[in-house]
Amino acid sequence: MANTTKTFAPPDSKGEEKNESTKHFTNVGTTGRLLSLLGGAALVYNGWNKKASVLGKSLTTVGTYLMLRGISGFCPVNKVLQIDTAHADTEGFEVTTSVTISKPRDEVYQFWRKLENLPKFMTYLEEVRQTDGKRSHWVAKVPRNVTTKEKLATIAWDAQIEQEEENSHITWRSLPGSEVENSGEVHFTDTLNSRGTVVRATLSYHPPLGIAGQLAAKLLNPAFKELVKQDVRRFKRILEAVEIPTIIGQPSGRKDEKY
C-alpha cells in the first residue's frame, strides 16, 4: 500500500501547515487508538496481576507503551518506521469466547440485555446508557493505573441493537460516524442437560488498513482475547456468585502494595 509508507501526510492532504503539524502528533487512526488503549489496559492489567514475574514486568511495559500510544494518538514506532495508519481502512478482526453459566437462560439473557449492566463486568466500559429501545450511548474508560482506577481518557460512541430475539441472541453495532467502529453479538442456548446456559460472545473491531494496522491487530488480538475472556468470566461470576471475587485491598506483608 503506497499510503502506508508516507510520512505523516494523508493522501488527500493539501499540505496546509496546520494540518501537517496536527498529523505530526496523531499518526495513529482512532480505531488504532482504541485498540492501543484497550490492548494496553489488558496488558497492564495482566502484567499488574503477575507483577512479580519477569513476564508481568514486560507485559506492563508493553501495555503502558500501547496505552500511551492510544492516548496521545502518537506512536513513536510508527514515526520511526514512517508509517501513517491514520488514513487507511482494513478488515476487522474479532474475538469469540464462550462460557457456561448455571442459571436459567432467561435470567442470563435479561442481565445482558439490560445494557446498563455491561460495565459491571466489562472492565473498560465506564457507562452504557440505553437512549431508546434500540439505541445506546457507550463510554469507555482508560485507566493509567489499574490499581488506583485513575482515569486518563474516555472514548464515547453510540450503538444500535441490530437484531434481538428474547432469550436467544442480541447483536449490536456502533452507529456510522462513531469515533470507534465496533460490533458484537451474543448467543444464549441451553446446556445439553438443560441445567444451565451457554453464552457465546463475539466482539469485532475494525483497525485501519495497512501493514501497521494489521500488525497492531495481530499483536493486540491475544490481549483482546484475554480481555474478552476475562469479561465473560466476570459475567459468569456475577450471575453465579453474585459478586466478583477479589483480593485487592486485603492485607499482606508487602509494604508497598495493598493486596
Binding site: 503477575k50 519477569v54 448455571s102 456468585a241 459478586e243 471475587p245 483480593i247 492485607p251 499482606s252 506483608g253
Partner: protein, 391 residues
C-alpha cells in the same frame, strides 16, 4: 494487626500488617482464636509452589469468632463462634451444586494460574499461593472470609475451640480420603502418613466400616499416635519392606483400600530457584510420588487408591502398567469441606472422635518461624503447631 507471612524457602516472619476489611458483599471478618499449620504448608515452605509471593499471609486451618459481616451475609452475625473451611466455594456454580466444592468455578480470585496449568481454574484456598486465589491466610489476628455463609460453620455449644479447629481442614480432608476410598465393611485400609490428615483418615476409615486400619510413617511418635488414638496397626517404612509387610499382613492378597495422605515429597530440601511464571507452574519440577508408587504396587487387584496428599504438577515414573492391569480405581481431590464439616462437627460434638489431640504446641503469632520449623523437622514430638493470636 500481626500476621505470619511467607518470605521465602523455609522462611516465614511475623509482621505488622493492616487489618482486613470487607471487600465484597458476601464477606465476613473473623477474629482468629486458633490457626493450625498443615502438612500442605510444607509444600509452600519448601518452595514447591511457585505462585507464592514474599509477604503473603499463610495459614488455612482455623476457627474464631465473627466480628463483622458484609451486606449480603444473613445467616451469620457478630459473635458467632465458627470453624472456617479452608476451601472457598461460591455456592452457585455447577460444581458447588454437585457438592464438589474445591472445584468451584468462581471462588479463585486469580483463576488464570490454574487455568493455564490445569486447563480449568480450581477453587480458592486461604493462604495457599496465588495459584489458588492469593487469599490472605489465617495466621493473623483477623481474617477476611469470602463467601462467608458457605465458608463458616457454627461450632455447637459444648465443643471446645481445640476440638472444633481441625474440622476446618484435617478432619474433612481425611474423611474425604476415606470416603473416596470406597470402603466396604471389613476392608483392610492402609493410610500412608500419620500426620493430622492421615490420623483423621484412620478415624474416618473406622467410621466408614473398615475391618482393619494400617498406618505407614517413619516417625515413631506419630506411629504411636496412630496406634493409641486411631487404633491402627503400624509399619515404619524405614524399618520394614512395606510391600512385603503388607502382603504378609493380608494373607498374600494385599490391602483393599490405599490412602495417600503424604502427596509430593515435602521433606526434601527445596529447589534453588522459583520461576513464578504462570506457564511454568506445572512444569517447574516433577512431583516425587514415592508414596503413590508404593500405594499402587501394594493395592490388591481391583482395589482403590485414594489420593488426598497434595500434588502440584507432574509425577515421574508413574506405574501405569500396574494400575491398569490390576484394575485399580483412583479417586482424588482437594477436600470438599462444605460437604463434610456439618457431619463432622456432629461427630465431634457426640465425642465419637476428638481431634484436639493433634494440637501439641500452642504458640503466639510471634513464634511463626519456630512453629513451622518444629512441625517441619518433627521435633518435640510435634503433631501440629497452632497459633493462638489472642493467647
Amino acid at each position: 494487626m500481626k500476621a505470619i507471612c511467607w518470605e521465602g524457602i523455609n522462611k516465614v516472619s511475623t509482621e505488622r500488617v493492616p487489618d482486613p476489611s470487607i471487600l465484597n458483599p458476601r464477606d465476613a471478618i473473623v477474629r482468629v482464636f486458633l490457626s493450625s499449620v498443615c502438612g500442605s504448608d510444607l509444600h509452600l515452605l519448601g518452595g514447591y509452589i511457585p505462585a507464592m509471593r514474599a509477604g503473603d499471609i499463610i495459614g488455612h486451618e482455623f476457627m474464631g469468632e465473627i466480628v463483622e459481616v458484609g451486606p449480603e451475609v444473613k445467616k451469620l452475625k457478630k459473635g458467632d463462634r465458627v470453624v472456617v473451611c479452608s476451601v472457598l466455594s461460591c455456592g452457585g456454580c455447577e460444581f458447588c451444586q454437585r457438592e464438589e466444592y474445591s472445584l468451584c468455578d468462581n471462588s479463585n480470585a486469580e483463576p488464570e494460574w490454574t487455568e493455564k496449568a490445569y486447563g480449568y481454574p480450581v477453587a480458592g484456598i486461604f493462604g495457599y499461593s496465588h495459584a489458588l486465589g492469593g487469599y490472605a491466610g489465617s495466621h493473623a489476628e483477623y481474617t477476611r472470609i469470602p463467601f462467608a455463609e458457605n465458608t463458616c460453620f457454627k461450632v455447637p455449644d459444648g465443643v471446645s475451640n481445640e476440638s472444633a479447629l481441625f474440622t476446618s481442614d484435617a478432619f474433612p480432608t481425611g474423611y474425604m480420603a476415606a470416603d473416596f476410598a470406597g470402603i466396604e465393611p471389613g476392608d483392610t485400609v492402609v493410610v500412608w502418613g500419620a500426620g493430622g490428615v492421615g490420623l483423621m483418615a484412620m478415624h474416618s476409615a473406622w467410621l466408614l466400616g473398615a475391618g482393619r486400619v494400617i498406618a505407614i510413617d517413619q516417625y515413631p511418635y506419630r506411629l504411636e499416635q496412630a496406634r493409641v488414638r486411631a487404633n491402627a496397626e503400624t509399619l515404619n517404612f524405614k524399618e520394614v519392606d512395606v510391600l512385603q509387610a503388607l502382603k504378609d499382613m493380608t494373607g498374600g492378597r494385599g490391602p483393599d483400600r490405599c490412602i495417600d495422605c503424604v502427596g509430593m515429597e515435602a521433606n526434601s530440601t527445596g529447589i534453588e530457584k522459583i520461576y513464578d511464571y504462570a506457564k511454568q507452574y506445572a512444569r517447574l519440577q516433577n512431583d516425587r510420588p514415592a508414596v503413590l508408587r508404593q500405594a499402587i504396587m501394594a493395592c490388591r487387584k481391583g482395589g482403590t487408591v485414594s489420593i488426598i496428599g497434595v500434588y502440584g504438577g507432574f509425577v515421574d515414573k508413574f506405574p501405569m502398567g500396574a494400575a491398569m492391569n490390576k484394575g485399580l480405581t483412583f479417586r482424588m481431590g482437594q477436600q470438599f469441606g462444605q460437604r463434610y464439616i456439618p457431619k463432622l462437627l456432629d461427630i465431634v460434638a457426640k465425642g465419637e472422635v476428638d481431634p484436639a489431640y493433634l494440637l501439641t504446641h500452642k504458640l503466639s503469632l510471634d513464634m511463626g518461624q519456630e512453629g513451622y520449623m518444629m512441625f517441619k523437622d518433627k521435633t518435640n514430638n510435634n503433631m501440629r503447631s497452632v497459633f493462638a493470636p489472642a493467647g
